[in-house]
Amino acid sequence: MSKIVKLKKGFDLKLVGTAPLEFIQVAAATTFAIKPTDFPGIQRPKVLVNEGDTVKAGTPILLDKAMDQVIYASPVSGEVVEIKRGDKRKLLEIKILADTTVSYEKLGALDLEQDRATLVGKLAASGVWPNLIQRPFGIVANPADSPKAIFVSGFDTHPLAPEVPYLLQGEERYFQAGIDALSKLTAGKVHLNVDGSKAVPTIFSGVKNVQINQFSGPHPAGNVGIQIHHLDPINKGDIAWTIAPYGVVQLGKFVLEGIYDASKVIALTGSELTQKGYVKTYTGSNVSTFVGGSSQAENLRIISGNVLTGEKIENQGYLGFYHNQVTVIPEGKYEEFLGWLKPSTSKLSFHKAIGMFSFLNSGEFKVDTNTHGEERPFVVSGVFEKVLPMDILPTYLFKAIVTEDFDEMEELGLYEVIEEDVALCEFVDPSKNELQELVRHGIELLMYN
């Protein structure tokens, strides 16, 4: 039975810099990177290639010794040019200089009728597997598990997020094949959740083997964690998997073609980007050609992903594995005279405290990275509750993590949230706490103790 869920809590951030629905012409990226830091669950990463090796798209280049069935593959063919390590030899990036035409490891099309174990084994060794994320904890799915259901969010409500149907156009066949493969991986259902405020996009309306649910409401209605909570919530001991729509397409391409085709469409967004729109590239793409020259780079923040959950990258940095958006906004390193007192309609705020008139402004807001205040203890109550559409008491959950109270963390719902679900809480917090970092800290406590 498909479900219709209407959510009220949340907040839509209307920002300047939406990408128009068109492909733009920019020079293709020449280097690509796999960053182990994109996968929070990796415990003991091991590099399988050396600098100077040539690889094909789909050649294993990395694995986690704690879960060695799953390989992380090169997104393109070319030469491994650098294995970058940081402090204490922490593995940061494996960079690959791409060939002009990509050649693929040929693994052979996948017969979905074989037994599940063989199927899982082949998928885990293909390079597409890391697209599957396990809930709880938001880590790469373990092939040894059998999830109770698989969830796909077919829309993205993050600020300036790409239009998912636009990303998928022309990929209908692969999307269906990917869904078919997912339905073999779970004994339960595959849920495809679509934006209930619009007509179901054609790419989704014809899809078989799924339950299509409609969600409407402000952000975070598009977050898969929120959707799971309303469809089939995760309790202690449950395991569900999630996968992004573009991951489904990559999975479908492996099923039908037998190759790891890491190509994806990404949106170039943000107020400071002169050329906004969509481009086709590969997972882990270098962004320097997309964001233009480096003349202003000092005062700009280039973000892989969106402004709420993304990560700051360098001008020459690489797109995160799970990201399909680049956002460029100004840095906010300035002092503002009596900035805490000045009335304004142009400063984006969820609150309506004295002088904050942004709720009267129906236009789009230009934002920067200034924190607009310093970190303070939790004082104001009831704010997080207004932006988290779950039957969870976020303030108590955060305090349980701060005090490292394991029972409380479990009982208050840490199994149901990951960073992206509390990103809005972090944004609206007048005490400026780092709540996403806090939630990951709590998850790590639960995972490794």
């Binding site: 709420l308 700051k312 002088g355 205040g373 310093e374 303070r376 104001v380 039957d391 005490s431």
Partner: protein, 399 residues
């Protein structure tokens, strides 16, 4: 502004590590962030942008909401003085008289409180928090208008140290800090904060014939003793002087009392600001008034004396209920934190206030003790609300 920025920059090396005033860096930073919103930027992971509202703006919103009550309080103190002495006074005379009595209290409260706070921040190496912006104002506003200033200073130090800093500072306190200050004085120096003599300043003049300095609550309480209906007793109190305790004059606030507690109207103006800005919980405010009214009705039903029989709406405009419910009960740190808990907390404050007023002869005003008592109980209320949430989530698993 460049000038000010340069001034700060010039001082900065002294407060940095190795500088001669290194220990006091938190004071430097505290002052700089008041002058200039800081140039901090978001970390590389996590939310890349942050809401434009910070704690300072939340706190200043509360201060602004209290200003109508403060201004009215200043005027009313002058007004009460001229009534008691029978002299004629213009608007300006009253305002100046009131300001001269209120401003020293306000200055002492802020100066002593901030000094205590700064001392703790330096010792503990904490950043200076904005909480005292509100507390400093509140402490002054709930004092009788002619309290000795040393008592204000003593109460402030007690409240900041014992009420807040020993628990870890802003955000960690159990009791409302301003109410703690008032309760301290109430029990330590009752002569200066209760009775009929402390609310109106006579100075070297003598009161006119027939003047009584009692508060409305005292009049209501005494009416039970001589069995006059409360409304009649209130209506005839000081009536010859044109200063009766009719419902309307109590609602407007032209009655003796602590500096800013008298006017229900001004408390409601403050409530409107707090609710419109979303800074205070409307559930607590509505619950507080509703609880007091409902308990007033219950008292009517059970009435064995005149006070219990007083129409319930009188409870809402007498004493400090309105001020306490709007500004004290809504302190987010010491109130209940869960949404259901806020209803229960607010309603019980109203109920307890009326019970204490009507049934306990030792405490004419109940709001102070009601708020403090509910501050203590709030975590318990929250505990059960949170427990219900946990149980609901556990039950989900078996479906």
């Amino acid at each position: 502004m460049k000038l000010l920025q340069n001034l700060f920059d010039g001082m900065k090396p002294n407060f940095e590590k190795g500088g001669k005033w290194e220990k006091f860096h938190t004071l430097y930073e505290g002052h700089r962030t008041i002058a200039f919103a800081p140039d901090l930027i978001t970390k590389s992971k996590g939310a890349q942008i942050k809401d434009a509202t910070d704690l300072k703006r939340v706190m200043i919103t509360v201060v602004i909401a209290m200003i109508p009550a403060l201004l009215f309080g200043i005027l009313n103190i002058g007004h009460q003085h001229f009534i008691a002495t029978g002299a004629e006074g213009t608007f300006l005379d009253k305002a100046i008289f009131g300001a001269l009595s209120v401003l020293p209290i306000l200055i002492v409260s802020y100066a002593v409180g901030l000094l205590t706070e700064f001392t703790f921040c330096v010792i503990r190496n904490h950043p200076i928090s904005e909480g005292y912006l509100v507390t400093g104002m509140l402490i002054a506003l709930v004092m009788p208008p002619f309290i000795p200033l040393w008592q204000v200073a003593l109460a402030t130090i007690f409240a900041v140290v014992i009420g807040k800093e020993v628990f870890g500072g802003t955000g960690m306190n159990i009791l409302n800090v301003a109410m703690t200050a008032r309760a301290f004085l109430y029990f330590a120096y009752p002569a200066q904060i209760s009775g009929d003599q402390v609310w109106t300043y006579l100075g070297d003049k003598t009161a006119v014939d027939g003047f009584s300095g009692a508060t409305a609550l005292a009049v209501a309480y005494n009416s039970s003793l001589d069995a006059t209906p409360v409304v009649e007793a209130l209506g005839t109190h000081n009536a010859d002087l044109g200063a009766d305790f009719s419902f309307m004059s109590m609602f407007m606030g032209w009655i003796p009392g602590s500096i800013a507690e008298t006017s229900t109207l001004m408390a409601l103006v403050g409530a409107a600001i707090l609710i419109a800005t979303g800074v205070a919980s409307w559930k607590i405010i509505l619950g507080g008034f509703g609880g007091a009214y409902a308990m007033g009705l219950v008292m009517n039903v059970l009435a064995v004396n005149q006070y219990m029989a007083m129409p319930a709406q009188y409870h809402l405009v007498m004493g400090g209920l309105a001020f306490g419910v709007v500004f004290m009960a809504t302190d987010p740190v010491s109130a209940a934190h869960t949404e259901l808990g806020k209803w229960i907390y607010g309603i019980l404050i109203g109920v307890l206030t009326v019970i204490i007023r009507v049934t306990n002869p030792a405490y004419p005003e109940g709001i102070m003790l009601a708020v403090l008592f509910m501050n203590v109980v709030a975590p318990l209320i929250d505990h059960y609300v949170v427990k219900a949430n946990k149980t609901r989530r556990l039950q989900r698993a078996t479906i």
